[in-house]
């Protein structure tokens, strides 16, 4: 029987911190350079028909000078969503794209790029105006950044 403990074991060499998003979503903090390896291990363990990317959520932490990128991955056999959190510098937010491993990352990566300016390296479909109106794009504003006035 799969369990959250098992996921902890899978990620054991990558985890640099962990906490819980309420009510019961275990979150594992890993270094951005290990993201693809961690997802590969998860896919190997559960298989392609057992997990999908539910959300890619970026949060601008302006006072800390970072952007958090949280990957909410739903694991169907566990009937729960786990979270992988990576942190990137605000002035150069680059994260490897997962689109080649999980095509469902497309929507989340394109949205996060357009709204927060996180560059998903390897995703050739990234473009401005995915959601953001052209007048905002023309002013080079990422609207969900905390210093953006829209």
């Amino acid at each position: 029987m799969s369990s959250i403990k098992e996921i902890e074991d899978i990620f054991s060499s990558y985890i640099i911190g962990k906490d819980t998003v309420k009510p019961n979503r275990p979150r594992f903090h890993i270094d951005v350079s290990n993201l693809k390896e961690a997802i590969t291990l998860l896919k190997q363990r559960f298989g392609e028909e057992a997990l999908y990317i539910s959300n890619i959520i970026g949060v601008d932490k302006i006072t800390e000078g970072i952007i958090e990128v949280n990957y909410f991955i739903h694991i169907i056999p566990l009937a729960n969503t786990i979270v992988i959190k990576v942190v990137v510098p605000r002035d150069k937010p680059q994260v490897p794209s997962l689109i080649d491993m999980i095509p469902g990352a497309y929507s989340g990566e394109c949205e996060t790029y357009d709204l927060l300016g996180v560059d998903f390296v390897g995703n050739k479909y990234l473009k401005r105006s995915f959601f953001v109106p052209t007048d905002v794009v023309s002013r080079d504003i990422f609207p969900l950044r905390k210093d953006a006035k829209v």
Partner: protein, 399 residues
């Protein structure tokens, strides 16, 4: 007379923009279909026509205003939006609604599921040419809209939830009226379900059209009836057991075919399940208070993060709140099921006929563009060779 020795065939590739405003599309999105003859060879999904900046708006308003803003994200499924947001705040504040309030929340959400599923099936009937069926389903859907109004006070927008409970309760008179409506709707739902399954024309139009394999559906993050129509048993109500879903029995409807008909039948079966759930709720509604005294609720909420999921009619809807304290959230992320289902669906149209793209393409006057490509056929030996128009124009192709 000199005989021709070669023939140049220039295949016409159609670029058909469907939307952002189109009778068959009920929301502004652009589906740009590239067709080679009748076959769809490429699809681009264009978004951004309805971006209202709701997430930024939520960051700039208090939780109490936000509760009413999130209801307005979607007209059809507004109660699931407010349920998901309200529960995310309740997890932060560690507030627990009363059992009666939880039952009433499920009641209004399941009524919403019934009318939403009826709506999309009615639209499907309309698209495949059954306008009368569309009108019949919409007529019967009005009964459910009336039921929703009896419970929540609003035919469309409910504004029914509040942190720690609900905003309205029902009495015996309303309960009896609701049961009466449900009894009236039940045979109609069964009839429509039977019609979709057995009518040879509907069946022919939907069977084996848009077949999605389990692996593709999961890897593209598609959710809800699409996921369950392709054989995956995943339903947020069964997985998270939020509100009263841990006490109300229901079956998770799964079909293995993966085609358009399977997805529509999943919706009819789910509507019937929802009907049974509503009847169960009305017969087993716990006693006690349901309406929360809004004057006694906290004005600020403790810092923290929460992530809630709800099974909206279209699939898994999620809310993420990051809160640093005070009366306004630091970050709110709303991920609707259509975000995944529509934006990631480009692959699913490929290799189908244009007529199978589930919208009324024939009503379009398509824009035709020739691609820079030609086929040169040597008439002597029948050998075909693909070259570019540019090469022909520059005299690089020996005809």
């Amino acid at each position: 007379m000199e005989r021709a020795t070669s023939l140049i065939k220039i295949p016409v590739t159609l670029e058909i923009p469907i939307g952002p405003q189109h009778p068959a599309i009920h929301e502004p999105i652009l589906i740009k279909v590239y067709a080679d003859g009748e076959e769809v060879v490429g699809v681009e999904i264009g978004t951004g026509y309805n971006h209202r900046g709701v997430e930024k708006l939520l960051e700039n308003n208090t939780f109490y205003k936000d509760k009413f803003i999130v209801s307005r994200i979607c007209g059809i499924c507004n109660t699931v939006h407010e349920n998901c947001f309200v529960r995310a705040v309740e997890y932060l504040a560690e507030i627990k609604p009363s059992p009666r309030a939880e039952y009433l929340r499920v009641l209004v959400m399941e009524l919403e599921r019934i009318h939403s599923h009826m709506l999309i099936n009615a639209i499907m009937a309309e698209i495949i040419g059954f306008d009368t069926l569309f009108m019949y389903i919409m007529r019967d859907r009005e009964l459910i809209m009336k039921a929703k109004e009896i419970v929540s006070g609003g035919r469309v927008l409910a504004d029914f939830h509040m942190f720690g409970g609900v905003r309205r309760d029902i009495d015996e008179v309303k309960r009896d009226k609701l049961i009466e409506i449900l009894k009236k709707v039940e045979p109609r739902l069964k009839y429509y379900r039977k019609l979709f399954e057995n009518d040879p024309t509907i069946s022919k139009r939907l069977t084996e059209i848009g077949v999605l394999k389990t692996r593709d559906v999961v890897s593209h993050g598609m959710v809800g009836p699409i996921l369950r129509g392709s054989g995956v048993r995943s339903d947020t109500r069964a997985e998270d057991r939020y509100d009263a879903y841990d006490e109300i029995k229901f079956n998770v409807i799964v079909r293995s075919e993966g085609d358009s008909l399977a997805r529509m039948l999943v919706r009819w079966d789910e509507a019937l399940e929802s009907l049974e759930m509503c009847k169960y709720i009305l017969e087993h509604l716990p006693s006690g208070p349901a309406i929360v005294d809004e004057r006694k609720l906290p004005r600020t909420f403790p810092a923290g993060e929460s992530f809630t999921r709800v099974e909206a009619p279209r699939g898994e809807l999620t809310y993420y709140i990051q809160h640093t304290g005070g009366s306004k959230p630091y970050r709110v992320k709303v991920r609707t099921p259509s975000f995944n289902n529509i934006i990631n669906s480009g692959f699913s149209y490929l290799r189908h006929s244009i007529a199978d793209v589930p919208v009324i393409l024939v009503s379009y006057d398509p824009c035709i563009s020739c691609m820079e490509r030609a086929i040169v056929v040597n008439l002597r030996d029948g050998v075909e060779k693909k070259v570019t128009l540019k090469e022909i124009a520059m005299g690089k192709v020996k005809l």
